[in-house]
Amino acid sequence: MKVTKTAIGDTHQHGGHGTHHVLSSQSLIFTFGALLLLTAFTVWTARIDFAEFNHYFLPLQVDLGPINIILAMAIASVKTVLVGAFFMGLRHEKPFFVLTFISSFVFLGIFMLYTLSDTLYRGSLDAREGERLEFESPVKVAPEGTTPTAH
């Protein structure tokens, strides 16, 4: 891919139109290369089963299995930061825009944590695991056609 010859570094373009940061072609190529390397790295690490190394740590009773998913998500996060900082230009963007975008991941985290606090512990508070609890409703269902009356 050919990029224009003039390699403008971390300079700002001055003109009648204020100061838009012109992207530096070196940092774009660097980011592109880093993203390709990280893709290769995530494929490579996914093919290693870390649980196979458990026997080295037998006395410690640690399970290395989760390393696979932790590493995959860590690499994906690094790639996302690279795309956000360099390709989306957040590196030179107004802090308020950066905060706006990061807030989406914070709210996503809250959403997931609260949902998991339910789904991961279902049945651990009552003995009747996985059952739908029968309960006697205080609501007396009226026959059809009657209008509800309140006291």
Partner: protein, 219 residues
């Protein structure tokens, strides 16, 4: 009534709206609007990612069994295609900043072609899944699985990649429109807001795939 006005053949015709103090303020307002839209997009996809996490916590072995039926090579190929398209897209933004009209539309055209390649690869993946009966919910007809919840993973696979694919398709229409405008030299250093905002959208589509690839193909 005025008759059809003759539009200029080439060059920027955009003017700052009267309620903005400057072109910069208008540019920033457009960008903030795009960022807020991207926040809603993250939460939109977030629902599916949350479903993925819940079912993975419940059925980790089923995920490993069914994910083995996805071809990680095609997933990796599509990852490379999308990352390259992100690079050509950001290069197009740079071309617009430097008023390089020739390379602006060329880089946009490359981005469009790569998006097309992504969807063609996706088409081959989908047809293979359909052929083997690996379909969501009641349409699941594949046999020989150890887990009776296998259809859940396939359902998540189709919904997550399908929603992402729709975003790629919408992106292709937007980039196609940008190419038409770029050919008329409507963008330059003074005005390139649509190139910038479509670029932001395109990078988010790339970001989402960066997570979908390891979560679906590399278990």
């Amino acid at each position: 009534m005025s008759t059809t006005s003759t539009r200029p053949g080439k060059g920027i015709i955009h003017q700052t709206a009267h309620h903005f103090p400057s072109a910069d303020a208008q540019f920033d307002a457009a960008k903030l609007g795009m960022w807020i839209f991207l926040v809603t997009e993250v939460l939109f996809f977030g629902g599916l990612f949350c479903a993925y996490v819940i079912y993975r916590a419940w059925f980790p072995d089923m995920y490993a069994e069914v994910a083995a039926h996805l071809d990680w090579r095609l997933g990796a190929l599509n990852t490379l295609v999308l990352i390259t398209s992100s690079y050509t897209m950001v290069s197009a933004v740079r071309n617009a900043q430097l008023s390089d009209h020739k390379w602006l539309w060329r880089n946009l055209a490359l981005t469009l072609i790569l998006a097309g390649v992504f969807l063609v690869v996706k088409y081959f993946e989908y047809s293979s899944k359909v052929h083997h009966g690996l379909l969501p919910g009641e349409f699941f007809t594949a046999e020989g699985f150890q887990h009776n919840t296998a259809h859940i993973f396939i359902g998540l696979y189709f919904m997550m990649t399908g929603l992402h694919g729709i975003h790629v398709l919408i992106g292709m229409f937007l980039i196609g429109w940008l190419i038409i405008q770029a050919r008329k030299q409507r963008f330059g250093a003074e005005y390139y807001t649509p190139v910038e905002t479509v670029g932001l959208y395109w990078h988010l589509v790339d970001m989402i795939w960066i997570f979908l690839f390891p979560l679906l193909y590399l278990i």
